[in-house]
């Protein structure tokens, strides 16, 4: 069972992702961080295999957190989940910084699972 940490300031997005992950059968959600700084702390305490992270959050944003996470934890795989996925520059920046993929919103559950399972 792969452990997934959800990072999003939106309660409703966290709820949607949690449901998709926990109903998958092979993935389990280990928590919900509301910004980048919380994500770094929870990555340390929960040791997830995968992090699903929003880009646009108050406090530390997703791309800033991504920069730190890839240095602090070489094993964790980060996927960005964002409404800005269609912005070429943002997508490229995330991939360049080490994100494994970018999921655009609105998303389909099947699409999320396919991407998480491919990691």
């Amino acid at each position: 069972m792969k452990k997934v940490l959800i990072v999003d300031d939106s309660l409703s997005v966290a709820r949607q992702l949690e449901k998709i992950i926990n109903e998958s059968g092979d993935l389990v959600s280990v928590g919900h961080a509301k910004n980048g700084a919380e994500a770094i702390k929870m990555n340390h305490s929960e040791d997830p295999d995968i992090i699903c992270m929003d880009m646009n959050m108050p406090g530390m944003d997703g791309l800033t957190a991504l920069r730190s996470l890839v240095v602090l934890d070489k094993a964790v795989k980060v996927v960005m989940v964002t409404s800005l996925g269609g912005v070429g520059d943002k997508f490229t920046e995330a991939i360049k910084l080490g994100a494994k993929n970018v999921i655009s919103k609105p998303f389909e559950p099947e699409n999320v699972l396919n991407i998480l399972r491919s990691l």
Binding site: V87, D89, S104, P106
Partner: protein
């Protein structure tokens, strides 16, 4: 006066009974096929093809027909044939009422003319923006994307109202706002009534019942909807070479006398007519 559908207007005017209207609507539903249904009826595609196209439509700003062509399911000439067939067989409500014997063709003509006059202040045929507005294609995209996401993500049927400049937004259950900066500076606001807030929550959370959800979750779903719209607007704008940033969305509970437009901003209001009881409004506060 309020926004009405033609059938509703006719019933109100006493031109037809609600039973006759219902008969006409049933006839319309049997006659008018959606693009996917028509293409299926013509033997060009299967239900699986439609499902595949709908799934990829969520992440692509394309009409179903264009997407079916892009996915290699329909050829461009087949699409044209389907569109032509849809157009030539489309039955409007007025025609349906004539067919079921509820109206004469002559009466239909005169009521149509009266309806146009009645609805002229409310119905926008297309997104019309004032001449003073800079970056018109961007704001047209913002409004158009809102309409598309209301249909696709929320599954709400609505009629867009006419754009108007306002100096204050009237009060409502809540407003979700998102600030845009970069090549344009503006605040995008969506105002929703209590019933629509729940409709949005059901669609975003994919739940049938949200009565037990705390207010912050209901508000969050509206903010998330605004986030989806604005993120996609920024993506679309980037394709035209405009660079925009968005800040996380916020919730505003306006005072009873509404929300004033800040100095050095001008505000455009786009009413979104859903039903008589539920109010949704899109507003753009654009920095001058």
């Amino acid at each position: 006066m309020a926004v009405k559908f033609f059938g509703q207007f006719l019933v109100e005017q006493g031109a037809v009974t609600s039973e006759a209207l219902l008969h006409a609507i049933e006839l319309q539903e049997r006659t008018n096929l959606k693009l996917g249904e028509m293409a299926t009826a013509m033997g060009y595609i299967t239900a699986d093809d439609i499902e595949r196209a709908h799934a990829s439509q969520l992440s692509k700003d394309m009409k179903l027909g264009d997407l079916l062509v892009e996915l290699g399911i329909l050829t461009p000439s087949q699409l044209q044939e389907v569109l032509d067939r849809q157009k030539s067989t489309h039955l409007y409500i007025g025609e349906a009422l004539v067919k079921v014997g509820a109206l004469t063709p002559e009466k239909l003509e005169s009521y149509l003319a009266a309806f146009k006059v009645d609805q002229a202040p409310y119905v926008a045929e297309r997104i019309e923006l004032p001449d003073w507005l800079r970056n018109q294609p961007l704001w047209e995209t913002a409004v158009d994307m809102t309409y598309k996401m209301i249909t696709r993500v929320l599954g709400i049927r609505f009629r867009p109202g006419k754009c108007q400049e306002v100096s204050r937004l009237s009060t409502n259950q809540m407003l979700a706002a998102m600030d845009l900066s970069g090549d344009a500076t503006a605040r995008y606001l969506l105002s929703v009534s209590a019933g629509l807030q729940k409709t949005i929550a059901k669609a975003i959370l994919k739940e049938d019942n949200v009565d037990q959800e705390p207010p912050e979750v209901l508000e969050d779903t509206v903010m998330e909807f605004v986030n989806i719209v604005c993120g996609n607007v920024v993506a679309k704008a980037s394709q035209s070479g405009l660079s925009l940033e968005i800040n996380p969305p916020t919730t505003i509970h306006p005072a009873l006398n509404g929300l004033p437009v800040p100095d050095s901003y001008r505000a455009l209001l786009f009413p979104i007519h859903v039903s008589n009881d539920e109010v949704m409004e899109l507003a753009l506060f654009i920095k001058q």
